[in-house]
């Protein structure tokens, strides 16, 4: 009986040897860490709308008043991107004002043209009226790269009066805010 037990031990040892060989390997792991911060960038950051003569020509009742067609429908294209899923866009429309005559105009005249600016990116709109100071509400544009189109509409003067002669200048600001 003892011989039988000894034989069993020898068999077990012989079986264990291949297991040791299999577990003899070594594994090295190199972990590579990194991050990408949320960002937005305009690669084409400005455009110019040269509206020309803002007042209506002719001799009719509207002559000398704002020609809304000079601003309404004007579209310019900026180009940019945001890499964060919660990125947003806001617009601030600043009125088109007479920079030559800066004093308050007499009754019946206007030296300010208000309008609404709408920016579209990633099929999302953000808009603002120049009547109200400050930027409009932000809209989430998320992750996008490509065009940001800016369109003007609803142009009007505060008193529907005659436009004071001079140079006029306004500005529409589009802000892309990165978030993830």
């Amino acid at each position: 009986m003892r011989k039988l037990i000894l034989a069993s031990v020898v068999l077990a040892a012989a079986t264990a040897t291949p297991v040791l060989a299999q577990s003899g390997s070594t594994t090295g792991t190199v972990t590579i860490d990194g991050s990408v911060a949320p960002r937005c960038l305009f690669t084409t950051s400005n455009a110019i709308i040269n509206a020309g003569e803002l007042a209506q020509a002719g001799t009719g009742a509207s002559a000398g008043k704002l020609d809304a067609s000079k601003l309404d429908g004007q579209t310019r294209t900026l180009v940019g991107w945001c890499n964060g899923t919660a990125s947003s866009m806001s617009v601030e429309a600043l009125p088109v004002v007479n920079t030559t005559v800066t004093s308050a105009p007499p009754a019946g005249f206007d030296r300010v043209v208000n309008y609404t600016a709408t920016a579209t990116a990633n099929t999302v709109n953000a808009l603002d009226s120049s009547v109200v100071a400050g930027a409009g509400s932000a809209s989430t544009v998320g992750l996008f790269t490509g065009n940001v189109t800016v369109t003007l509409s609803n142009s009007a003067t505060p008193g529907a009066g005659l436009l004071v002669a001079g140079a006029y200048q306004g500005e529409t600001r589009v802000t892309l805010s990165a978030a993830n």
């Binding site: 594994t27 972990t31 990194g34 990408v36 991107w81 996008f144 790269t145 993830n180």
Partner: protein
């Protein structure tokens, strides 16, 4: 005369027989042992080693993948010391892309960076490899290193990387605070 002759003959016989009765005995102790085929990390004798390369911000100022990622990785000088008891160990390399934890890719964006990992081995016969695997390919198979790994007190495994890339060169990287990739190196004793 005859009796004397008989006694002498007997005495001679006894004298010859004596050395045979005082013979030496020899004991033998057999010492046996074995060395299992294995590869281990030294110092320590562990079966694994772990290194981390922190590349930091992966995007450049233009939002695309930084072009100096290979230089940054290789500047980390990732090395290890592995020894094997066998003459013909094998090695396999598997590179996994550096992928965003949560960010998804959309048109114009990528959420992972592929690269090629290289593992150079110093053997007793000199340099071997590099043994490479690209993260866009399937894992490398066990390949003979080509000799015993060197046991000269210095690190004998050097890991480098190259060809970091997004799907297209113009892809922007999607923002994510966690991008993680991995290189796995398995060294086996071989046969």
């Amino acid at each position: 005369m005859k009796p004397i002759l008989a006694i002498l003959a007997a005495g001679t016989a006894l004298a010859v027989a004596s050395p045979a009765m005082a013979q030496n005995t020899t004991g033998t102790v057999n010492i046996t042992g074995s060395v299992a085929p294995k590869c281990i990390v030294v110092p320590g004798g562990d079966s694994t080693f772990t290194r981390t390369v922190a590349l930091g911000e992966l995007a450049g100022i233009d939002g695309k993948m930084r072009t100096d990622l290979a230089a940054s990785f290789n500047a980390a000088a990732v090395t290890a010391r592995v020894v094997c008891t066998t003459a013909a160990p094998t090695i396999s390399v598997d590179a996994d892309p550096i992928a965003a934890a949560t960010a998804t890719a959309v048109a114009g964006y990528d959420n992972s960076i592929d690269f090629t990992a290289h593992v150079a081995v110093t053997t007793t016969g000199g340099p071997a490899g590099p043994f490479s695997n690209d993260s866009a390919a399937v894992a490398g198979v066990d390949t003979a290193i080509g000799g015993r790994v060197a046991n000269n007190g210095s690190d004998n495994i050097a890991i480098t990387a190259s060809t970091f890339r997004t799907n297209t060169i113009d892809d922007l990287l999607a923002a994510d605070p966690v991008y993680t990739g991995k290189i796995t190196v398995v060294i086996k004793p071989g046969t």
